[in-house]
Protein backbone atom coordinates (compact mmCIF):
# COMPACT_ATOMS: atom_id res chain seq x y z
CA UNK A 1 0.00 0.00 0.00
CA UNK A 2 1.18 3.49 -0.84
CA UNK A 3 2.31 5.47 2.21
CA UNK A 4 0.35 8.63 3.05
CA UNK A 5 1.93 12.07 2.78
CA UNK A 6 2.22 12.18 6.56
CA UNK A 7 4.07 8.87 6.63
CA UNK A 8 6.42 10.08 3.91
CA UNK A 9 7.03 13.32 5.79
CA UNK A 10 7.94 11.43 8.94
CA UNK A 11 10.39 9.24 7.01
CA UNK A 12 11.93 12.24 5.25
CA UNK A 13 12.45 13.99 8.55
CA UNK A 14 14.19 10.86 9.77
CA UNK A 15 16.57 11.20 6.82
CA UNK A 16 15.06 8.82 4.27
CA UNK A 17 16.00 9.72 0.70
CA UNK A 18 13.74 6.95 -0.55
CA UNK A 19 10.74 8.66 1.04
CA UNK A 20 11.70 11.98 -0.56
CA UNK A 21 12.10 10.21 -3.88
CA UNK A 22 8.55 8.84 -3.53
CA UNK A 23 7.18 12.22 -2.55
CA UNK A 24 8.74 13.84 -5.62
CA UNK A 25 7.39 11.07 -7.82
CA UNK A 26 3.92 11.70 -6.40
CA UNK A 27 3.86 15.43 -7.13
CA UNK A 28 6.35 16.05 -9.90
CA UNK A 29 3.85 16.03 -12.78
CA UNK A 30 1.58 18.45 -10.97
CA UNK A 31 4.53 20.72 -10.22
CA UNK A 32 5.64 20.54 -13.84
CA UNK A 33 2.19 21.49 -15.13
CA UNK A 34 1.82 24.38 -12.71
CA UNK A 35 5.34 25.55 -13.57
CA UNK A 36 4.59 25.32 -17.27
CA UNK A 37 1.40 27.34 -16.77
CA UNK A 38 3.48 30.11 -15.23
CA UNK A 39 6.53 30.00 -17.48
CA UNK A 40 5.11 28.75 -20.78
CA UNK A 41 8.41 27.02 -21.43
CA UNK A 42 9.28 23.36 -21.04
CA UNK A 43 12.92 23.76 -20.02
CA UNK A 44 12.08 26.52 -17.54
CA UNK A 45 9.33 24.33 -16.10
CA UNK A 46 11.86 21.54 -15.50
CA UNK A 47 14.15 24.03 -13.76
CA UNK A 48 11.21 25.07 -11.59
CA UNK A 49 10.55 21.43 -10.71
CA UNK A 50 14.14 21.13 -9.52
CA UNK A 51 14.12 24.36 -7.51
CA UNK A 52 10.70 23.58 -6.02
CA UNK A 53 11.68 20.22 -4.61
CA UNK A 54 14.99 21.52 -3.31
CA UNK A 55 13.04 24.27 -1.57
CA UNK A 56 10.50 21.75 -0.28
CA UNK A 57 13.27 19.62 1.21
CA UNK A 58 14.91 22.61 2.86
CA UNK A 59 11.66 23.88 4.32
CA UNK A 60 10.04 20.61 5.32
CA UNK A 61 11.12 20.91 8.96
CA UNK A 62 9.12 24.17 9.08
CA UNK A 63 6.03 22.70 7.42
CA UNK A 64 3.41 22.80 10.11
CA UNK A 65 1.23 20.14 8.56
CA UNK A 66 -1.75 22.46 8.56
CA UNK A 67 -3.48 22.15 5.22
CA UNK A 68 -2.37 19.65 2.68
CA UNK A 69 1.18 19.05 1.65
CA UNK A 70 0.10 19.17 -2.01
CA UNK A 71 -1.24 22.72 -1.62
CA UNK A 72 1.94 23.84 0.07
CA UNK A 73 4.08 22.33 -2.70
CA UNK A 74 1.91 23.96 -5.38
CA UNK A 75 2.37 27.39 -3.78
CA UNK A 76 6.13 26.91 -3.59
CA UNK A 77 6.17 25.85 -7.26
CA UNK A 78 4.15 28.91 -8.25
CA UNK A 79 6.49 31.14 -6.28
CA UNK A 80 9.57 29.60 -7.86
CA UNK A 81 8.02 29.96 -11.32
CA UNK A 82 7.26 33.63 -10.75
CA UNK A 83 10.76 34.19 -9.41
CA UNK A 84 12.18 32.65 -12.53
CA UNK A 85 10.24 35.12 -14.64
CA UNK A 86 11.48 38.06 -12.59
CA UNK A 87 14.93 39.59 -12.44
CA UNK A 88 17.78 37.11 -12.43
CA UNK A 89 19.28 38.74 -9.36
CA UNK A 90 20.37 36.05 -6.92
CA UNK A 91 19.03 37.84 -3.89
CA UNK A 92 15.65 38.60 -5.41
CA UNK A 93 15.12 35.08 -6.57
CA UNK A 94 15.84 33.56 -3.20
CA UNK A 95 13.05 35.50 -1.53
CA UNK A 96 10.15 33.22 -0.72
CA UNK A 97 6.75 34.33 0.42
CA UNK A 98 4.15 31.79 -0.51
CA UNK A 99 1.59 33.73 1.54
CA UNK A 100 1.40 36.08 -1.44
CA UNK A 101 -1.19 33.66 -2.86
CA UNK A 102 -3.30 33.92 0.25
CA UNK A 103 -3.68 37.71 0.30
CA UNK A 104 -6.28 39.77 -1.53
CA UNK A 105 -4.79 40.74 -4.85
CA UNK A 106 -3.80 44.26 -5.71
CA UNK A 107 -0.58 43.89 -7.64
CA UNK A 108 -2.00 44.51 -11.10
CA UNK A 109 -3.73 47.67 -9.90
CA UNK A 110 -0.64 48.92 -8.13
CA UNK A 111 1.86 48.13 -10.83
CA UNK A 112 1.37 50.58 -13.69
CA UNK A 113 4.47 49.29 -15.46
CA UNK A 114 2.99 45.83 -15.70
CA UNK A 115 -0.28 47.31 -16.92
CA UNK A 116 1.35 49.58 -19.48
CA UNK A 117 3.46 46.82 -20.98
CA UNK A 118 0.73 44.23 -21.10
CA UNK A 119 0.30 43.04 -24.63
CA UNK A 120 -2.70 41.57 -26.26
CA UNK A 121 -1.51 38.00 -26.17
CA UNK A 122 -3.32 36.00 -23.54
CA UNK A 123 -0.13 34.58 -22.10
CA UNK A 124 1.27 38.05 -21.52
CA UNK A 125 -1.96 39.21 -19.91
CA UNK A 126 -1.83 36.14 -17.72
CA UNK A 127 1.69 37.05 -16.66
CA UNK A 128 0.42 40.47 -15.55
CA UNK A 129 -2.35 39.03 -13.37
CA UNK A 130 -1.88 39.10 -9.62
CA UNK A 131 -0.44 35.94 -8.08
CA UNK A 132 -3.69 34.76 -6.50
CA UNK A 133 -5.67 34.95 -9.73
CA UNK A 134 -2.80 33.56 -11.71
CA UNK A 135 -2.38 30.54 -9.45
CA UNK A 136 -6.11 29.81 -9.62
CA UNK A 137 -6.16 30.00 -13.42
CA UNK A 138 -2.98 27.98 -13.86
CA UNK A 139 -4.26 25.26 -11.52
CA UNK A 140 -7.61 25.13 -13.31
CA UNK A 141 -6.45 25.19 -16.92
CA UNK A 142 -2.90 23.84 -16.82
CA UNK A 143 -3.02 21.68 -13.69
CA UNK A 144 -6.56 20.45 -14.42
CA UNK A 145 -7.41 20.77 -10.74
CA UNK A 146 -10.91 20.89 -9.28
CA UNK A 147 -12.33 24.00 -7.62
CA UNK A 148 -11.93 22.21 -4.32
CA UNK A 149 -8.22 21.71 -4.87
CA UNK A 150 -7.81 25.31 -6.01
CA UNK A 151 -9.61 26.40 -2.83
CA UNK A 152 -7.14 24.29 -0.86
CA UNK A 153 -4.14 25.95 -2.50
CA UNK A 154 -5.59 29.42 -1.96
CA UNK A 155 -6.75 28.52 1.56
CA UNK A 156 -10.26 29.77 0.96
CA UNK A 157 -13.75 28.36 0.52
CA UNK A 158 -14.80 26.74 -2.73
CA UNK A 159 -17.18 29.62 -3.35
CA UNK A 160 -14.35 32.11 -3.05
CA UNK A 161 -12.16 30.00 -5.35
CA UNK A 162 -14.89 30.04 -8.00
CA UNK A 163 -15.16 33.77 -7.63
CA UNK A 164 -11.38 34.20 -7.91
CA UNK A 165 -11.41 32.16 -11.11
CA UNK A 166 -14.22 34.20 -12.61
CA UNK A 167 -12.71 37.52 -11.59
CA UNK A 168 -9.38 36.39 -13.00
CA UNK A 169 -11.08 35.80 -16.33
CA UNK A 170 -12.80 39.18 -16.12
CA UNK A 171 -9.49 40.90 -15.35
CA UNK A 172 -7.91 39.21 -18.36
CA UNK A 173 -10.78 40.51 -20.49
CA UNK A 174 -10.28 44.04 -19.18
CA UNK A 175 -6.52 43.95 -19.71
CA UNK A 176 -6.85 42.59 -23.22
CA UNK A 177 -9.49 45.17 -24.15
CA UNK A 178 -7.38 48.02 -22.80
CA UNK A 179 -4.35 46.83 -24.71
CA UNK A 180 -6.44 46.50 -27.84
CA UNK A 181 -7.74 50.07 -27.42
CA UNK A 182 -4.29 51.51 -26.77
CA UNK A 183 -3.11 50.00 -30.04
CA UNK A 184 -5.81 51.73 -32.08
Amino acid sequence: MEPTDQELLASIEAGSDLAFDRLMRRYRRLVFRVAYGFTGDRESALDVVQETFLRVHTRLPGFRGEGQLRNWIVRIAANEAMNQNRSSSRFETTALDESVFLRPDMSEESDPVVRATTERALTKSLAALGPRYRLAIVMRYFGERSTREIAGALECSEGTARNVLFRGLAKLRTMMSETEESRR
Partner: protein, 301 residues
Amino acid sequence: MSACARFEGMIERLVALDLPPQDRAALLAHAQECEGCRQLLAIHGELVAAGAEAPEPDEAELDFVQERILREVRRRRGRRPLRAAAIAAGLIFPFAAGLILGRMLPARSGGFPPSSRLIDALHAEAASNRGLTDIEDSRFNYSNVTFRRVPGDRVALDFDVTTHLASIEPSSSPLVRDVLAQSLLNPSSVGERLKAMSFAAGELEPKLTQAVLFSLRRDESVAVRLAALTALVTRLDDDDVRSALMAALRDDPSVQVRLASLELLASRPIDHGRIREAIRENERPGDQALMVRLADLERKP
Protein backbone atom coordinates in the same frame (compact mmCIF):
# COMPACT_ATOMS: atom_id res chain seq x y z
CA MET B 1 -30.69 40.84 -11.63
CA SER B 2 -29.49 41.97 -15.07
CA ALA B 3 -29.26 39.46 -17.89
CA CYS B 4 -25.46 39.63 -17.85
CA ALA B 5 -25.25 39.04 -14.11
CA ARG B 6 -27.28 35.85 -14.59
CA PHE B 7 -25.09 34.67 -17.45
CA GLU B 8 -21.88 35.64 -15.70
CA GLY B 9 -23.00 33.31 -12.92
CA MET B 10 -23.27 30.62 -15.57
CA ILE B 11 -19.76 31.39 -16.85
CA GLU B 12 -18.51 31.11 -13.28
CA ARG B 13 -20.11 27.67 -13.06
CA LEU B 14 -18.75 26.72 -16.50
CA VAL B 15 -15.21 27.58 -15.37
CA ALA B 16 -15.80 25.63 -12.15
CA LEU B 17 -16.91 22.63 -14.26
CA ASP B 18 -20.40 22.42 -12.85
CA LEU B 19 -22.64 24.14 -15.41
CA PRO B 20 -25.58 21.84 -16.20
CA PRO B 21 -25.72 20.92 -19.91
CA GLN B 22 -29.18 22.48 -20.31
CA ASP B 23 -27.76 25.89 -19.32
CA ARG B 24 -24.99 25.75 -21.91
CA ALA B 25 -27.29 26.38 -24.84
CA ALA B 26 -28.84 29.40 -23.10
CA LEU B 27 -25.38 30.78 -22.30
CA LEU B 28 -24.18 30.37 -25.88
CA ALA B 29 -27.32 32.01 -27.22
CA HIS B 30 -26.79 34.97 -24.88
CA ALA B 31 -23.14 35.23 -25.91
CA GLN B 32 -24.22 35.71 -29.53
CA GLU B 33 -25.84 38.98 -28.47
CA CYS B 34 -23.49 40.12 -25.67
CA GLU B 35 -19.93 41.11 -26.50
CA GLY B 36 -18.74 41.08 -22.87
CA CYS B 37 -19.86 37.52 -22.22
CA ARG B 38 -18.61 36.45 -25.65
CA GLN B 39 -15.14 37.77 -24.76
CA LEU B 40 -15.19 35.90 -21.44
CA LEU B 41 -16.10 32.67 -23.20
CA ALA B 42 -13.39 33.28 -25.79
CA ILE B 43 -10.77 33.73 -23.07
CA HIS B 44 -12.03 30.59 -21.34
CA GLY B 45 -11.74 28.73 -24.65
CA GLU B 46 -8.22 30.01 -25.26
CA LEU B 47 -7.15 28.97 -21.78
CA VAL B 48 -8.65 25.50 -22.24
CA ALA B 49 -6.74 25.20 -25.53
CA ALA B 50 -3.51 26.47 -23.97
CA GLY B 51 -3.85 23.94 -21.13
CA ALA B 52 -4.55 21.12 -23.58
CA GLU B 53 -1.52 22.08 -25.67
CA ALA B 54 0.82 22.19 -22.67
CA PRO B 55 3.47 19.49 -23.11
CA GLU B 56 3.47 16.43 -20.91
CA PRO B 57 6.74 16.08 -19.05
CA ASP B 58 8.95 13.27 -20.22
CA GLU B 59 9.33 10.66 -17.46
CA ALA B 60 13.02 10.18 -18.24
CA GLU B 61 13.60 13.93 -17.95
CA LEU B 62 11.78 14.03 -14.64
CA ASP B 63 13.80 11.04 -13.42
CA PHE B 64 16.96 12.88 -14.34
CA VAL B 65 15.86 16.04 -12.52
CA GLN B 66 14.93 13.95 -9.51
CA GLU B 67 18.35 12.29 -9.43
CA ARG B 68 19.97 15.71 -9.54
CA ILE B 69 17.82 16.91 -6.64
CA LEU B 70 18.73 13.88 -4.54
CA ARG B 71 22.43 14.40 -5.28
CA GLU B 72 22.13 18.02 -4.18
CA VAL B 73 20.21 17.03 -1.02
CA ARG B 74 22.95 14.53 -0.12
CA ARG B 75 25.65 17.10 -0.84
CA ARG B 76 23.98 19.65 1.44
CA ARG B 77 23.49 17.07 4.15
CA GLY B 78 27.18 16.24 3.98
CA ARG B 79 28.12 19.89 4.42
CA ARG B 80 25.82 20.62 7.34
CA PRO B 81 27.41 18.47 10.07
CA LEU B 82 30.87 19.72 9.16
CA ARG B 83 29.79 23.31 9.51
CA ALA B 84 27.89 22.66 12.71
CA ALA B 85 30.83 20.78 14.19
CA ALA B 86 33.21 23.57 13.29
CA ILE B 87 30.96 26.13 14.91
CA ALA B 88 30.35 23.96 17.95
CA ALA B 89 34.04 23.51 18.47
CA GLY B 90 34.42 27.26 18.62
CA LEU B 91 36.74 27.32 15.69
CA ILE B 92 35.03 29.90 13.54
CA PHE B 93 35.22 32.80 15.97
CA PRO B 94 38.90 32.50 16.82
CA PHE B 95 39.62 32.46 13.10
CA ALA B 96 37.44 35.45 12.49
CA ALA B 97 39.00 37.30 15.40
CA GLY B 98 42.46 36.51 14.11
CA LEU B 99 41.56 37.69 10.68
CA ILE B 100 39.96 40.88 11.96
CA LEU B 101 43.19 41.76 13.73
CA GLY B 102 44.66 41.93 10.29
CA ARG B 103 47.15 39.16 10.58
CA MET B 104 47.75 38.14 7.05
CA LEU B 105 48.13 34.46 6.43
CA PRO B 106 50.76 33.04 4.12
CA ALA B 107 49.55 32.40 0.61
CA ARG B 108 48.47 28.81 -0.06
CA SER B 109 51.32 26.78 -1.37
CA GLY B 110 51.05 26.03 -5.03
CA GLY B 111 48.07 28.33 -5.43
CA PHE B 112 47.54 31.99 -6.20
CA PRO B 113 48.04 34.52 -3.42
CA PRO B 114 44.57 35.65 -2.32
CA SER B 115 43.65 39.11 -3.51
CA SER B 116 43.89 41.55 -0.64
CA ARG B 117 40.57 43.10 -1.68
CA LEU B 118 38.87 39.73 -1.55
CA ILE B 119 40.42 38.96 1.84
CA ASP B 120 39.32 42.41 3.05
CA ALA B 121 35.78 41.66 1.95
CA LEU B 122 35.87 38.30 3.74
CA HIS B 123 37.12 39.99 6.92
CA ALA B 124 34.37 42.59 6.74
CA GLU B 125 31.70 39.95 6.20
CA ALA B 126 32.98 37.78 9.08
CA ALA B 127 33.07 40.80 11.37
CA SER B 128 29.50 41.74 10.52
CA ASN B 129 28.07 38.23 10.96
CA ARG B 130 26.59 38.15 14.45
CA GLY B 131 25.06 34.71 14.66
CA LEU B 132 24.63 31.36 12.98
CA THR B 133 21.84 32.65 10.74
CA ASP B 134 24.09 35.42 9.43
CA ILE B 135 26.78 32.85 8.67
CA GLU B 136 24.27 30.61 6.91
CA ASP B 137 23.02 33.57 4.85
CA SER B 138 26.47 34.97 4.16
CA ARG B 139 27.14 36.09 0.61
CA PHE B 140 30.39 34.10 0.74
CA ASN B 141 30.32 30.32 0.76
CA TYR B 142 33.37 28.42 1.96
CA SER B 143 34.17 24.88 0.93
CA ASN B 144 37.10 22.48 0.66
CA VAL B 145 38.38 23.88 3.96
CA THR B 146 41.46 22.81 5.93
CA PHE B 147 42.78 24.33 9.18
CA ARG B 148 46.37 24.13 10.44
CA ARG B 149 47.76 25.69 13.62
CA VAL B 150 50.90 27.74 13.03
CA PRO B 151 53.24 29.41 15.55
CA GLY B 152 52.18 32.68 17.12
CA ASP B 153 48.60 31.66 18.03
CA ARG B 154 47.64 31.69 14.38
CA VAL B 155 45.82 29.35 12.04
CA ALA B 156 46.56 28.65 8.39
CA LEU B 157 43.31 28.43 6.45
CA ASP B 158 43.03 26.84 3.06
CA PHE B 159 39.65 27.09 1.41
CA ASP B 160 37.63 27.79 -1.69
CA VAL B 161 35.28 30.74 -1.60
CA THR B 162 32.31 31.34 -3.85
CA THR B 163 30.15 34.40 -3.94
CA HIS B 164 27.74 36.31 -6.15
CA LEU B 165 29.05 39.25 -8.19
CA ALA B 166 27.62 41.60 -10.79
CA SER B 167 29.89 43.28 -13.30
CA ILE B 168 29.73 44.85 -16.77
CA GLU B 169 32.61 43.76 -18.98
CA PRO B 170 33.62 44.12 -22.65
CA SER B 171 32.19 41.14 -24.53
CA SER B 172 35.70 40.10 -25.57
CA SER B 173 36.98 40.12 -21.98
CA PRO B 174 38.78 36.92 -20.90
CA LEU B 175 36.67 37.03 -17.75
CA VAL B 176 33.46 36.86 -19.80
CA ARG B 177 34.82 33.87 -21.72
CA ASP B 178 35.89 32.05 -18.57
CA VAL B 179 32.53 32.67 -16.90
CA LEU B 180 30.72 31.41 -19.99
CA ALA B 181 32.91 28.34 -20.22
CA GLN B 182 32.37 27.51 -16.55
CA SER B 183 28.61 27.98 -16.95
CA LEU B 184 28.69 25.31 -19.62
CA LEU B 185 30.94 22.93 -17.71
CA ASN B 186 29.53 23.20 -14.19
CA PRO B 187 26.17 22.02 -12.92
CA SER B 188 23.59 24.75 -13.50
CA SER B 189 20.01 24.88 -14.68
CA VAL B 190 19.18 24.07 -18.29
CA GLY B 191 17.99 27.66 -18.74
CA GLU B 192 21.33 29.01 -17.55
CA ARG B 193 23.25 26.63 -19.79
CA LEU B 194 21.14 27.64 -22.78
CA LYS B 195 21.71 31.32 -22.02
CA ALA B 196 25.44 30.75 -21.71
CA MET B 197 25.41 28.84 -24.99
CA SER B 198 23.65 31.66 -26.83
CA PHE B 199 26.26 34.14 -25.59
CA ALA B 200 29.09 31.75 -26.33
CA ALA B 201 27.93 31.41 -29.96
CA GLY B 202 28.95 34.99 -30.67
CA GLU B 203 32.31 34.75 -28.93
CA LEU B 204 33.78 31.43 -30.01
CA GLU B 205 37.51 31.40 -29.45
CA PRO B 206 39.49 28.20 -28.78
CA LYS B 207 38.74 27.97 -25.04
CA LEU B 208 35.02 28.51 -25.50
CA THR B 209 34.91 26.20 -28.50
CA GLN B 210 36.28 23.42 -26.27
CA ALA B 211 33.60 24.15 -23.67
CA VAL B 212 30.89 24.03 -26.34
CA LEU B 213 32.29 20.73 -27.65
CA PHE B 214 32.22 19.39 -24.09
CA SER B 215 28.54 20.32 -23.86
CA LEU B 216 27.83 18.65 -27.18
CA ARG B 217 29.40 15.44 -25.89
CA ARG B 218 28.22 15.45 -22.30
CA ASP B 219 25.24 17.68 -21.62
CA GLU B 220 22.18 15.64 -20.69
CA SER B 221 19.75 18.16 -22.20
CA VAL B 222 18.88 17.72 -25.87
CA ALA B 223 18.07 21.44 -26.06
CA VAL B 224 21.57 22.35 -24.86
CA ARG B 225 23.23 19.90 -27.26
CA LEU B 226 21.22 21.33 -30.14
CA ALA B 227 22.19 24.84 -29.05
CA ALA B 228 25.83 23.70 -29.02
CA LEU B 229 25.48 22.57 -32.63
CA THR B 230 24.01 25.94 -33.58
CA ALA B 231 26.89 27.68 -31.82
CA LEU B 232 29.41 25.65 -33.80
CA VAL B 233 28.08 26.65 -37.23
CA THR B 234 30.86 29.20 -37.70
CA ARG B 235 33.61 26.71 -36.75
CA LEU B 236 32.94 23.90 -39.22
CA ASP B 237 36.41 24.16 -40.71
CA ASP B 238 37.95 23.25 -37.36
CA ASP B 239 39.07 19.58 -37.27
CA ASP B 240 38.07 19.16 -33.61
CA VAL B 241 34.59 20.43 -34.42
CA ARG B 242 34.19 18.10 -37.39
CA SER B 243 35.27 15.05 -35.40
CA ALA B 244 32.90 16.03 -32.56
CA LEU B 245 30.06 16.30 -35.09
CA MET B 246 30.94 12.88 -36.43
CA ALA B 247 30.89 11.47 -32.87
CA ALA B 248 27.50 13.09 -32.22
CA LEU B 249 26.15 11.61 -35.45
CA ARG B 250 27.41 8.19 -34.39
CA ASP B 251 26.75 8.17 -30.62
CA ASP B 252 24.18 10.76 -29.57
CA PRO B 253 21.02 9.16 -28.11
CA SER B 254 18.80 11.83 -29.72
CA VAL B 255 17.77 11.51 -33.36
CA GLN B 256 17.27 15.29 -33.44
CA VAL B 257 20.88 15.88 -32.46
CA ARG B 258 22.10 13.29 -34.95
CA LEU B 259 20.06 14.91 -37.73
CA ALA B 260 21.38 18.36 -36.90
CA SER B 261 24.95 16.99 -36.86
CA LEU B 262 24.34 15.39 -40.23
CA GLU B 263 23.11 18.67 -41.71
CA LEU B 264 26.21 20.49 -40.50
CA LEU B 265 28.62 17.80 -41.67
CA ALA B 266 27.00 17.60 -45.09
CA SER B 267 27.17 21.36 -45.53
CA ARG B 268 30.95 21.06 -46.06
CA PRO B 269 32.87 18.90 -48.52
CA ILE B 270 33.22 15.52 -46.82
CA ASP B 271 33.36 11.86 -47.78
CA HIS B 272 29.74 10.72 -47.52
CA GLY B 273 30.91 7.13 -47.12
CA ARG B 274 32.27 8.09 -43.69
CA ILE B 275 28.94 9.66 -42.78
CA ARG B 276 27.09 6.48 -43.79
CA GLU B 277 29.45 4.37 -41.68
CA ALA B 278 28.92 6.62 -38.68
CA ILE B 279 25.14 6.41 -39.03
CA ARG B 280 25.12 2.62 -39.31
CA GLU B 281 27.75 1.86 -36.71
CA ASN B 282 25.44 1.39 -33.72
CA GLU B 283 22.24 0.26 -35.50
CA ARG B 284 19.66 2.34 -33.71
CA PRO B 285 16.13 3.58 -34.35
CA GLY B 286 16.41 6.71 -36.45
CA ASP B 287 19.17 5.36 -38.68
CA GLN B 288 16.74 5.03 -41.57
CA ALA B 289 15.54 8.63 -41.24
CA LEU B 290 19.15 9.77 -41.22
CA MET B 291 19.95 7.75 -44.36
CA VAL B 292 16.91 9.22 -46.12
CA ARG B 293 18.01 12.72 -45.17
CA LEU B 294 21.55 12.02 -46.35
CA ALA B 295 20.18 10.82 -49.69
CA ASP B 296 18.12 14.06 -49.93
CA LEU B 297 21.21 16.13 -49.27
CA GLU B 298 23.19 14.20 -51.86
CA ARG B 299 20.52 14.84 -54.49
CA LYS B 300 20.76 18.59 -53.95
CA PRO B 301 23.33 20.36 -56.12
